[in-house]
Symmetry: C2
Subunit: 196 residues, 2 copies
DNA sequence: GTCTATATGTTGATAGAC
DNA sequence: GTCTATCAACATATAGAC
């Protein structure tokens, strides 16, 4: 199992650096010191490999940023967690490209990774909506707002910002996510790095 | 020239119906009653063909929705124009898929369609920001708001909503765009169909 | 487990006849 | 302009040896 994880971590680095187009099975195999067949021995198909790559990345980000969202005790915390997540993504363009392209390809129902993305979106929305609702019940978020809608919107906003940012790196993703939360009435606390 | 337009319109229909994966040059050629070579005779390469398809679509939408944004005389108008645009997009899933996938592929600088998308985003943002600023000067939009940021955000929101909607058709894109404008302090007037 | 070699399928692009 | 035929390039997947 250690070998699988080693492969995934190397693939993650290569993709973050070189982008999605270079991320063929052959290319990733070379980078990890295996032949194409050798790599597929571990993952079966390309789509399975890529889903595992995304899953591994999610595990990492979950520890660093996702937990901060779910465990947010204050309005500033949850807003800040999203800003930090996006700021982090801006450091790994290749990976943002992987996510955007693979997600758009998987939007067709027959695609092997379709269920992965559908579930991922649903879970992300639920966790965020739950946290927002909790804050609302504690009086830290305006009672007139709809947590479900806000949760869906913030992920849509992030995906769309990533798309524009990929075309134009001058687009400041974190700035716009912070502005979104300000519109909602939350001032993100973005200072410092998450303890993770 | 009539032939080119005929080809583009047919391609538009086929893609709106059957999605992006089916949209190979061969497939589109069949639908329009030409051989693959016959079709490429008009457009040279696949990427050029697809850019022309998107351009043609934009011309149409521009007449029906884009003008409504640029010419919006009231806050309700501009918000409503976006809601109607998104509502319209929800009728043509295949085309939304084409846009999303092609845009994500073209995010690399070497891609033949990269300039098209970059310019398209820039122009859309500018027109929208200009209109919002005008409304703001007339006192119809809260003076504390930033037109540039809002313009960029609404397009990001739409792109992201499309991504989620492609994975889960239950996502109500128009509802969330309307909610965005409400957060901003504008109530969209969505009734009726645009004259055009 | 890992490799080499190869099958298979798909697509976009081109040459050349009509 | 349009077709047929073919090429060339990939990329994934698999068979079989070691």
């Amino acid at each position: 199992m250690a070998k699988r994880e080693e492969i995934l971590d190397t693939a993650l680095e290569v993709i973050a650096r070189d982008g999605y187009s270079r991320a063929t099975v052959r290319e990733l195999a070379n980078s990890v010191g295996l032949s194409q067949a050798g790599l597929l021995h571990y993952f079966g198909t390309k789509e399975q490999l890529f889903v595992e790559i995304l899953r591994r990345r999610d595990e990492r980000d979950q520890r660093a940023y996702g937990e901060a969202v779910g465990a947010a005790g204050t309005a500033a915390d949850i807003a800040g967690a999203f800003v930090r997540l996006v700021r982090h993504n801006a450091q790994v363009p290749g990976f943002v490209q992987l996510f955007t392209r693979f997600s758009s390809e998987a939007s067709e129902e027959q695609h092997p990774a379709h269920a992965f993305f559908r579930d991922r979106y649903a879970v992300s929305r639920t966790i965020t909506a739950d946290t927002l609702r909790k804050l609302q019940e504690e009086g830290r978020l305006s009672p007139g707002l709809d947590p479900e809608r806000l949760a869906l919107m913030v992920f849509a906003l992030i995906d769309g910002l990533q798309m524009q940012w990929l075309h134009d790196p001058d687009v400041d993703m974190a700035d716009h996510v912070a502005y979104f939360w300000e519109l909602v009435g939350l001032t993100p606390r973005t200072g410092g790095t998450p303890a993770g």
